[in-house]
């Protein structure tokens, strides 16, 4: 049988190529050292960071000491922003702090489930794209919003699998499939992926990449878990390219439809 394995190209976001399709967050780790090793083990090339006020009494170094900026693309998020105005301000501050003009646009007014506000996100996206940012918006799995953001010029869309930190996996499957089918920009499934199998599922569906944080940071052995997610993402991607099969539903017996051809 002719086996045709499609060679996988790199993940391209805003014209920039990345070898890894696993984006990793840097929150919730027990120590900078553990976080640094986990990042290395995951093979990630895009690392999200947050922005906070410096504590004046112990103004020691920021995360930059544990994260080698030359090895990873630092993707500042706007967590903490509750509306477009705050998000835009945070993005500008991140750029002033030395980050590249990339931003994970994340506007979560609800502190419990941290679900993204679609209206403020679209508003902020339009402003930030105009100001030359490469915008990666974190959104609910809403196919229409995804296209509106794409039209506003965002570099990707990042629909959630399930709420941040819930580790419940891909609970928005059908909607993410529609987003993938309709999208002209990379689709990154972000939030809620609690196990390598969840990441593999997202990649098997045709997602371009996934973003994981909690599941690695709070694992018993974060470094081993980072490696496991790396494999999960690669396995899912290869399965997608290999052309997933599913058990063929037996054709239900009903009146023949092509009998008239004979």
């Amino acid at each position: 049988m002719k086996t045709k394995m499609k060679a996988d190209g790199p993940l391209i976001i805003a014209g920039r190529a990345f070898g890894s399709r696993l984006l990793l967050g840097t929150g919730k780790f027990s120590s900078p050292g553990v976080m640094k090793s986990a990042l290395k083990a995951s093979g990630t090339e895009i690392v999200t960071v947050a922005l906070r006020r410096v504590e004046l009494d112990n103004a020691q170094d920021s995360i930059l000491s544990a994260v080698d900026a030359s090895r990873y693309l630092l993707l500042p998020n706007t967590s903490g922003a509750r509306n477009a105005e705050e998000a835009v301000r945070l993005a500008r501050l991140a750029r002033a702090a030395g980050c590249e003009p990339w931003v994970k646009l994340e506007i979560t007014p609800d502190p419990h489930y941290l679900l993204p506000d679609p209206i403020e996100t679209l508003k902020a996206a339009e402003i930030l794209v105009r100001e030359g940012f490469t915008v990666l918006p974190y959104i609910n799995a809403d196919p229409v919003l995804a296209k509106r953001l794409e039209e506003a010029g965002t570099a990707t869309v990042m629909p959630l699998g399930s709420p941040i930190g819930s580790n419940r996996g891909v609970k928005t499957r059908e909607l993410i499939e529609i987003i993938i089918e309709k999208s002209n920009v990379p689709v990154v499934v972000d939030a809620g992926l609690g196990a390598p199998s969840h990441a593999a599922e997202a990649m098997e569906m045709g997602a371009d990449a996934v973003l994981v944080n909690t599941a690695v940071a709070v694992a018993g052995d974060p470094i081993a878990m980072a490696r496991a997610f790396k494999k999960g993402v690669e396995a899912g991607r290869e399965a997608f390219l290999a052309g997933l099969g599913s058990p063929r539903k037996a054709a239900e017996a009903s009146s023949p439809l092509t009998g008239f051809l004979r």
């Binding site: 967050g25 840097t26 929150g27 919730k28 780790f29 976080m35 999200t48 960071v49 947050a50 922005l51 906070r52 006020r53 410096v54 504590e55 004046l56 103004a59 170094d61 920021s62 995360i63 930059l64 630092l74 500042p76 998020n77 967590s79 301000r89 500008r92 501050l93 991140a94 750029r95 002033a96 702090a97 030395g98 980050c99 941040i164 930190g165 939030a191 973003l211 944080n213 909690t214």
Partner: protein, 66 residues
């Protein structure tokens, strides 16, 4: 003079540049972003941007985040 830094009231004697303030607080300028009265102070402006009585200063840096 009295100024506010990251939400805390601070007494500071005499005019001071943003850069001098950071150094006094033991903060490396390269790793932070600074806002003076909600306006971002770019790195190249830090040496000459003067802080006055009643100013509100925000000093932001990157931390771990998802």
């Amino acid at each position: 003079m009295e100024i506010q830094v990251n939400g805390e009231k601070r007494q500071w004697d005499g005019p001071v540049t943003v850069l001098a303030l950071l150094e006094a607080l033991g903060i490396r300028p390269a790793t932070v972003a600074v806002e003076r009265n909600l306006r971002i102070v770019l790195k190249e402006e830090m040496a000459r941007e003067m802080i006055h009585e009643g100013d509100t200063i925000e000093i932001i840096r990157m931390v771990g985040g998802g």
